[in-house]
């Protein structure tokens, strides 16, 4: 289902061939937009009561207090703005064919896409006439100049920082820190609730993403890993090489063992997506569950976190 969304093959074929052309137009259009925009980076810079100063990865920016038209370029920003009740007018998505992730709910379904997360379209962003743009320095650094001529632009440093830090930055940009604190408190409460209900203490859990035979194990600093630990699980110890995840050969599949093993897939009903290495060692993986990668991997943010916790709740309820 998620693999093949509603759109017909012909339409997607069309998209595949028309989009590259669109990108070319966008690229040529960019320069025009950059050249014609009046007084670059000035924006609503007058420091008065209607704006607040936000410190971020690219310096300090005056942001209107009452933003109405936000464009987000990073999944965690999309998730957080929706969670705070500010539905963005545009969002860069990981997969243009799939669009805005379904877990964000109906309110988010109508958000316009402005290209992909690694390559957002400045043209499309400008067309939406935003009053705030949120992006990521490690991904969109080169676009900052252009974006800040369109609207006040706030950049977080990287998507690999602890996600709660990035949630806090988005909240500061929107001027709703109390709302973000509440969301994170709700998340922590939900974690504690699961840990208590199912007596999780002492149990290990491992989140695994299969890729072409290689298995990617997610560590405690990853979004999925931190949510599992928040819910009371321990991730089996190993050398995480100071990274959020470590790849292992299928020959070492037994290193992925845990009381609860979660394997990500684009379609949880398709059993062939479980890697052969794990299927061949079924006896070593009694607590195996296939989970939806659209929120377990890419659902970074308070809403995604809650969705993952709901999923953990469901899995534990089924196995008890």
């Amino acid at each position: 289902m998620r693999l093949l969304p509603a759109s017909s093959p012909t339409r997607r074929l069309l998209v595949a061939f028309v989009l590259p052309a669109a990108v070319v137009f966008a690229a040529t259009g960019c320069t025009v937009a950059g050249a014609t925009s009046p007084d670059a980076s000035a924006g609503p810079s007058a420091t008065d009561a209607s704006t607040h100063l936000v410190e971020h990865a690219r310096g300090e920016t005056e942001v209107p207090n009452d933003v109405q038209r936000v464009v987000v370029l990073e999944p965690v920003q999309l998730d957080t703005t929706v969670a705070l009740g500010v539905i963005p007018v545009g969002a860069a998505v990981l997969n243009e064919a799939a669009g805005v992730p379904a877990y964000l709910g109906e309110d988010a379904a109508g958000i316009a896409t402005v290209g992909t997360v690694p390559e957002p379209s400045v043209e499309k962003i400008a067309a939406l006439k935003p009053d705030l743009i949120l992006g990521t320095e490690s991904r969109h650094s080169a676009l900052y100049g252009q974006l800040s001529t369109i609207a006040p632009t706030v950049f977080m440093a990287t998507q690999t920082d602890p996600w709660t830090d990035n949630v806090a930055l988005v909240a500061r940009a929107l001027g709703d820190e109390a709302g973000a604190d509440q969301l994170l408190a709700d998340y922590t409460d939900r974690c504690a609730e699961i840990a208590d209900t199912y007596d999780v203490a002492g149990m290990t859990a491992q989140f695994v993403r299969p890729r072409d035979g290689i298995l990617t194990l997610y560590g405690p600093t990853s979004f999925a890993g931190s949510t599992l630990e928040c819910a009371g699980f321990t991730i089996p110890e190993r050398d995480w090489e100071e990274s959020i995840s470590v790849d292992i050969s299928p020959e070492r599949v037994l290193e992925a063992q845990a009381d609860l093993v979660l394997v990500s897939a684009t379609d949880v009903t398709d059993e062939t997506l479980v890697p052969e290495s794990i299927r061949s060692n079924a006896a070593a993986f009694p607590g195996l569950n296939v989970v939806d990668q659209s929120f377990w991997i890419t659902g970074v943010g308070p809403l995604g976190g809650m969705t993952v916790l709901d999923d953990i709740d469901r899995i534990l309820a089924e196995t008890k």
């Binding site: 590259p20 990981l94 890729r211 072409d212 790849d247 020959e251």
Partner: protein
């Protein structure tokens, strides 16, 4: 017969050549042995032997029977197919830089796999096999049809140019498709690097008949290639059916390269380097080059795969990346030799 008339340029190879083939067989057997013994999850040779003889633990049985033996078999088939396909295409086009992908085989296979992944939700290596085979066949037939249009039969130069042109178009389409569909890009990434991971017997066995047919055609066509190397007219005067030999060679290359690509994805450099190595050491007789490539192709693939398993522990490096690293220096050394290997 033809064979007596087309002795290789260099003679007196008798004992040397016999010794060369003994060495090649030893290297191949050694590579296959290493491929069963060495892996990302270290196991003593004794344990491996014990497991093969019916003992071992659950884990060692999984490592030997589910991982190493199937991928060794896949490496043998893929390497043999690519080595021979490379030898044939270099002789056929009389171009030392030709590799089996020059007729659009890889581009066609990749495009079909990309379409299958993007629009039909194909996710398993088993599914890729048939898509890749179909793509390779369709595109080579297309290249042959276009290359031979206009009355004249398909000459090597025309075919090469057509193959490169059409291959470029389809490579572009594949790129367009995967860049606009990140999920497909993710899945294609592993395939297009070339890998033997999770290529079990369920993937290799369906392709085996195609490869065997291709190898048979190659052995039948090789003597004729010796004559064609002297020019079409000479070949004709020697009683070689040039058109039929060329068709057999093209069919063999398509089956071999298509089959290999279907199993492992496009493995670069194997088809290019192996025939050079063989030509360098056994001379220019196409029959011996084909047989030599049949032995050295799988040896190169298996040794590269073994390297890939231990280079980036605890993960693995796809064999296609290793063959590129191993193949490039070999090719440079060969190119710098004073007398280029005759074709």
């Amino acid at each position: 017969m033809v064979t007596t008339l087309t002795k290789p340029a260099r003679t007196g190879h008798g004992p040397t050549r016999a010794a060369w083939f003994v060495v090649a067989v030893v290297v191949l057997v050694g590579a296959a042995g290493l491929s069963v013994v060495v892996g990302a999850n270290p196991m003593s040779p004794g344990t491996v032997l014990g497991t093969i003889l019916g003992g071992g633990t659950d884990e060692s049985r999984y490592l030997v029977w589910d991982q190493r033996i199937p991928r060794t078999a896949a490496g043998l088939v893929v390497g043999a197919a690519l080595g021979v396909a490379g030898a044939l295409i270099q002789a056929f086009t009389r171009n030392p830089l030709a590799d089996p992908g020059i007729l659009g085989v890889n581009a066609g296979a990749a495009f079909f796999v990309a379409v299958g992944i993007t629009f039909f939700g194909v996710t398993s290596p088993y599914g890729y096999v048939w898509l890749a085979c179909a793509g390779a066949l369709v595109l080579t037939v297309g290249v042959y049809t276009i290359g031979s249009a206009g009355g004249d039969h398909a000459g090597p130069v025309r075919l090469t140019v057509t193959g490169v042109a059409i291959g470029a178009v389809f490579a572009g389409l594949t790129t367009g498709l995967t860049l606009t569909h990140p999920d497909s890009f993710d899945r294609m990434r592993g395939w297009s690097a070339g890998t033997l991971l999770e290529r079990g017997f369920d993937v290799v066995l369906p392709v085996l008949p195609l490869v065997l047919l291709g190898l048979t055609l190659a052995l039948v066509a090789a003597p004729g290639l010796n004559s064609i190397a002297l020019g079409s007219d000479v070949a004709r005067s020697q009683g070689v059916d040039v058109r039929r030999t060329r068709l057999a060679v093209l069919a063999a290359v398509t089956l071999l390269a298509g089959g290999a690509t279907a199993v492992a994805g496009p493995l670069v450099f194997v088809g290019l380097v192996v025939p050079h190595l063989v030509r360098w050491t056994v001379g220019s007789d196409q029959r011996w080059i084909v047989v030599g490539s049949l032995l050295l192709g799988p040896a190169l693939v298996l040794l590269s795969d073994v390297l890939g398993r231990i280079l980036v522990l605890p993960s693995e490096m796809p064999v296609g990346i290793v063959t590129a690293f191993v193949g490039a220096p070999v090719l440079i050394i060969l190119a710098r030799r004073r007398s280029a290997s005759a074709l």
